[in-house]
Amino acid sequence: MRAVRRFARENSLSLVFGGLFLVALGLQSLAGWHEHNAEQTAHHAAEVSWGAYVTSSNFGVAVLENWQSEYLQFTLFILLTVWLVQRGSPESKELGKAGTESDRAQRIGPHAEPDSPLWARVGGFRTCVYSNSLLLLMAGIWFASWIGQSIAGVVVFNAKQTDHNEATVSCAAYVTGSEFWERTLQNWQSEFLAVGSMAIFAVYLRQRGSPESKPVGASHDATGVEG
């Protein structure tokens, strides 16, 4: 019991967000299912079960178009904050530290510490891969989700085309068409706005106790300081 309590306490951030994700995904599936069946009725087509809806491309494209944009957001944020800075922002590195930094500063190879991960200590190819592993994973999830969105999207698009007695399109035609880019860019623009505004709002505003904010009393000029 103590071990369970300790597990919950030490992983509360990932547990709570995991729970919120499952609840939101479940509610999205219910709302999407009702919406889908309303459209089916309007088109004099048979209603589908919840199980059929959540294993359909309709639900798949709705989920993946949001996943890809979130992972693109983090991919770009991780990559661009290596070189780009924002004076006064806790989301930015200190102004003079732009770049990939020295091996000593990154504690790799001969500069590793006893508790450093193995791949940070060994040097060579493995340390190179591990040095970029977060970016590689986030970019991989973004790209795979975007491919998934395009594949599920063309199925949904072609089902609508068939309903309206119009010609279906190939996957290549779909990913160069306006429907795919409208779905994609409506998500990207909101992510870019949220990240950019967060970086600049946190220069002047504070949340006491949050590592996403500077300490309340930190100066507006203090850069790369987390509270």
Binding site: R6, E10, G18, F59, L64, D115, A144
Partner: protein, 43 residues
Amino acid sequence: MPDFCRAAEAGARLPIMRVMFVVYLVVIVAGVVGFTVIGLLGR
């Protein structure tokens, strides 16, 4: 706290965090692969 104690403590906590790491990764991979396969099947 001496360095070796910190290392031992970090080592002891690693598996418990790994559970969450693996759960998230499995959910994401299952979602992306699952919906991609559903799309490929034309469902």
